[in-house]
Each structure stands twice: as C-alpha cells, then as structure tokens.
C-alpha cells in the first residue's frame, strides 16, 4: 500500500460535455507528480475530483488505500491540502490569519488556536519565506508573495498530499523557480506527495518524478519525463511542431516550440 492516490475508471461530464473518459492511474507516496496537457484536456477537473471538490459520475478515487467516501470532510482535510488558482480576495485578512486558517481541520468548530498551532503557523511561514509579511494584508501582496502565503496555509494543514492548480501561472521566472524549489523541498524534507497541474512542460520536466499527459479527457501517456516528453507524444497531444532534446542541466528532456519562420529554413 504505497500509493497515495489511486484513480480507477474516472468519468466526469458537465452536462453533455464529457471532460474525463475512463481515466485510471495511481500516484506513489512521496512522488512529485505533475499533470500536463493542452487547454480543455481536463487537468483542472481531474485535480478538483482528487481534491474532493467535484464528484465523479463514475469510477472511484482511493486515498492512502481507502475509498474517498470512507473519509469525513475533516479527516480528508488532514490528509489533502489544496492550493487553488489565484483568486481575488475582497476581505482584508492579514497573512498570519490566513496561514493560521490552515489549522482549522485540526481545531474545534470555532477554530480557537492553541500554542502549537501558532508554532506550526510560524514554521510554515518561515518555510515559504513569508514570515516578514505576517502582519501585512493579503490584498497588498504581489502575486508571488500571495501564492507563497497560500502554500504556507496548505502546509499548516499538515497534509500528506498537497495539490496545486497551476501555481506558477502569472509568476515571473524568479518566482517560478522559487516556488518549484519549495515544492521539491517539501517532498524531500517532509515526504509530502506533491501533485500539480501545470502548463509549463519544461518546469515539469525539471522537477517531477512522474508525468501524466492528458488529451481530451484521456491519459495519453504516463511515466517519468524521459518517457512521456518525446516529440511524437507531445506533437500528438498539442498538435504543433516541437523540438525535444536533452537539457544541458541534466538527464531530462527540454522542449522548444518551433515558430513557423524557423521551419522554412
């Protein structure tokens, strides 16, 4: 029983629109697992089903070897933490209070904090490098800072699995690398299973252990980056010409888009 998540014959549709068709796969505990695929391939839907936000039409999801429905909302919240795509926040919470809210599955109904909750909050803020912002209001932060606050909040839940929906979208290069390094440390130091939806094939190749490539709601390929990121598979998925070679940084592929003007040469 070393699978964090096992998905079997998952089917999901919005009305007549079938988004996921019979997907099955499993994610090993402690892996860095990234889901990629073109727009509308069902990545976010798949992630939201795993997070328990959506209910699949058919099929089942096992968390740590037990069916999803065997868990209560609170007990699942102690295992899985979710970092959503960035949402605007209208209410002026300060950073520390937002991070502290991650403790709520471990607390009573009113979320009254104990001393160790505050310690965990402080550690989480230090881990993601936002402790100097702890008294600042959420709506005064930059995109990168806010994303790290939400990750600290997720870490506060003390989860075994952390889910992130396109966390690097709209971040600049420095913040992208910083965020991915953070996830790598989370996996290495705390043994947390990291599952991420990403648009960025190259970032995915650099960090992940396993890649799932979705196309039109089906799993096109699953495996380590070297197996999934071949130009045949990628061109089939994305329908454009791509150049795949070995990254100068190590033993993983590098994907380059090929513009029309370069093809004429």
């Amino acid at each position: 029983m070393n699978s964090a998540i096992r998905v079997k014959n998952l089917r999901y549709s919005y009305g007549d629109d079938i988004v996921l068709k019979k997907i099955s796969f499993s994610i090993t505990k402690g892996d860095f697992f990234i889901i990629i695929g073109p727009n509308g391939s069902g990545k976010t839907t798949l992630m939201r089903i795993i997070a328990g936000i959506l209910k699949p039409d058919e099929g089942k999801v096992d968390i740590l070897g037990s069916p999803f429905r065997d868990y209560s909302r609170r007990s699942i919240a102690k295992i899985i933490a979710f970092v959503p795509q960035m949402e605007p926040v209208d209410f002026p919470f300060v950073v520390k209070d937002v991070v502290l809210m991650g403790r709520s599955p471990h607390q009573g109904m009113l979320g009254l904090e104990q001393k160790h909750d505050l310690e965990i909050t402080k550690q989480a803020m230090e881990f993601t490098g936002v402790e100097h912002l702890s008294r600042r209001r959420l709506d005064q932060l930059s995109g990168g800072e806010r994303q790290r606050v939400f990750i600290a909040r997720a870490i506060c839940q003390d989860p075994q699995i952390i889910l992130l929906d396109e966390p690097t979208a709209s971040l600049d290069l420095r913040h992208q690398v910083r965020l991915m390094d953070l996830m790598e440390r989370l996996k290495q130091e705390r043994g947390i299973t990291v599952i991420m939806v990403s648009h960025d094939v190259n970032l995915a190749a650099m960090y992940c252990d396993q890649l799932l490539l979705l196309k039109e709601g089906q799993a096109l390929s699953l495996g380590p980056p070297n197996e999934v990121l071949t130009f045949q598979t990628l061109e089939k998925a994305y329908g454009c010409t791509l150049l795949v070679d070995k990254s100068p940084l190590g033993d993983f592929p590098r994907v380059t888009m090929v513009p029309e003007k370069s093809m004429k040469m």
């Binding site: 997070a51 909302r73 209208d90 209410f91 809210m101 009113l110 979320g111 939400f150 839940q157």
Partner: protein, 335 residues
C-alpha cells in the same frame, strides 16, 4: 503553559466587553431621555421600587421606553448581523439583508394587513412575517438547483423580487384610504413606536438562539471568504453552512422587519464600520455586530424621538440620513 486561553478568545472577550459597555450606555440614555428626562436615580428607584417614584414615571420608563429600547437593540443587532452574514455568503462587502427582497415581501404583507384593518400586534406582524417568508421561499425556488450557491443568481433574483414587490406596494398605496395612508407610510419608513413588552420578549426569545448559532458558524464564514475550494478542502460543508446561514438570517430579518418596518443602511454600515476597526475575523465581528449594532440602533432611535420639537419621526429616516453619507465616506476611504 501559562498562556492557556488562545489569543483569539481574549480578543473576542475584549471586543465584546467594549461593545457591551457601549450598548449599556445607549440603553441608559435611551431610557432616561425623551419628552421628559429622568436621572439615573429615578430609573434605579423605579427598578427597585424604593423611594417615592410616581406611577407616571414608572409606567413611562417600564411600559413605554424600556420595550422600545430593547426592540431597537434587537433590531439593530439583527440587521447588522444580517448584513455581516450576507456579505460573507455573497462574498460582496456591499451586500445587506434587504438585497434578497425580504423587505419587499414583508412590506407587501404588512400593508395588506394594515389595509385589512387588523390590529398592529400580532395581526400586522404576522401578515408581514408571512409575506417575507413567502418571498424567501420564492427566491430559493427561483435560484435553486445547481445555481443556488452562485452569488449572482441569488442577488439578481432578490433584486427582481424587490422590484415586483415595489410595484405591488405602489398599487396598494394607490387604492388605500386616506386614514390608513399615514400608518402605511410610517411603517415603510421604519417605526419603533407601538412596541409592546410581550411582543418584544417573543422576538428576543426567537433571536437569541439564532445569534448563538451564527456565532458557532463564524469560523466557517472566515474559511468561506478564502474561496469555496479552499473552504471545502479545509473541511467545511459549504452547502450546509450556506443554507443554514441564509435561512436563519432571513427568518431573523423578517421577524424584526415585521415588528418595525423597513429600517435601511444599518446592515450595510455597521458591519463595514466594525470591520474597519476590528479587522475581518468573523469570530470577533459576530459579537461586535450584535452588541454594537444594537447600540447604534438605540442611539438612532433616541435621535428620532428627541430631535423633532413635537412628536417624533420614524427611526428609518435617521439611520438612512446617517448611514448613506457615512457609507459613501467609507467607500471613498477604503478604495
């Protein structure tokens, strides 16, 4: 472990005490001031029955002013907490209970009652309550199904129901006899006079459990503001919490509206003001809104009684006159 009670608990207690003090002050002022003024001493003596208080003062204080002040406090508390809850549920800092059209339905019910010539209490209260409950059901039916949790569908249904109710009100006004017109207009502007201790006590007994329940859900409201996905994945049963809050608050608001007519802006101004002072944590804001909103309404009602040289004006006029400019000021300052 010296520091045993959590920080937030201290904060809740501190803020509640502060607001309680304010409410207490407002109530004392509300009882002592009016067409004739009484000192603290007279109030105390009439309460304990000692000294030589005349029966006139006793009956003014305990049969007229006391029920009225308590009603004002309850109304203010309900409207403020209603605003707070709707702002959290719709994730819109500008929402308030009337936005769902509950006031409109309640007004139609009350005016129908007045036109039928039945007694103010319990007659008109009951028809008005029936009107608002009917609107609530209508709104839930209109926006039910998978769209119930979308903020826009609730909001838009409310606006439309309100618009329809306004038309019905205008129709009723146009066919009303002159003698009853004054009654109707006073009710539409929000009127706390004619409060009777029995009715007020029934209202208090209805509202108090609702206050407690809303306080218990205050942490869930905090989590809801982080977005639905985050709330759900931190263990909140969003649907149950939202529907519970919606139904409780609507019932509370319709119960008070049926007693005192339409009093605007309290639900908009108080949560906003208190949020500016104490921050956005609902565990602090819920008690603050109950006590502070009550105090605010008692003050407004006092002004409504004291300001006019003769007679009095509807309290709704005062709340709107203070509320609207204050709200614009706050809006300018925070944006």
């Amino acid at each position: 472990m010296i520091n045993k009670s959590p920080f937030i608990m201290k904060r809740i207690c501190f803020v509640s005490l502060l607001m309680l003090l304010l409410l207490f002050l407002a109530i004392i002022l509300g009882i002592s001031m009016g067409s004739t003024d009484y000192g603290i001493k007279t109030i105390w003596e009439s309460l304990t029955g000692s000294g030589e208080t005349d029966s006139m003062a006793y009956s003014i204080i305990w049969h007229i002013r006391f029920p009225r002040v308590v009603l004002a406090a309850l109304v203010g508390a309900t409207l403020s907490i209603g605003g707070l809850v709707f702002q959290a549920l719709l994730r819109n800092p500008l929402a308030e209970p009337y936005i769902l059209g509950i006031s409109g339905g309640s007004a139609v019910g009350a005016i129908t009652g007045i036109l039928m010539g039945i007694s103010r209490f319990p007659g008109v209260s009951l028809t008005s309550f029936a009107g608002s409950v009917a609107t609530l059901f209508l709104i839930i039916v209109i926006s039910s199904g998978p769209t119930i949790l979308k903020k826009d569908s609730l909001l838009l249904s409310g606006v439309m129901v309100n618009a329809f109710c306004s038309a019905v009100i205008m129709f009723l006004l146009s066919i009303a006899q002159d003698s009853r017109l004054h009654n109707i207009l006073f009710w539409l502007m929000g009127d706390l006079s004619l409060s009777e201790i029995k009715g007020v006590m029934i209202l208090a007994a209805t509202l108090l459990p609702c206050f407690v329940l809303i306080f218990l859900l205050s942490n869930s409201m905090n989590l809801l503001l982080m977005g639905k996905d985050v709330a759900r994945t931190t263990g909140v049963n969003i649907k149950a919490v939202s529907i519970t809050l919606l139904v409780i608050t609507s019932l509370m608001v319709s119960a008070t509206v049926s007693h005192c007519g339409l009093i605007g802006f309290v639900g908009l101004v108080m949560p906003h003001l208190l949020r500016l002072i104490f921050g956005p944590d609902h565990r602090v804001l819920v008690p603050a809104c109950i006590l502070g909103g009550g105090a605010y309404m008692v003050f407004c009602d006092l002004l409504a009684r004291v300001l006019p040289a003769q007679g009095e004006m509807p309290s709704g006029v005062i709340t709107a006159m203070i509320g609207a400019p204050l709200f614009i000021f706050l809006l300018k300052r925070t944006r």
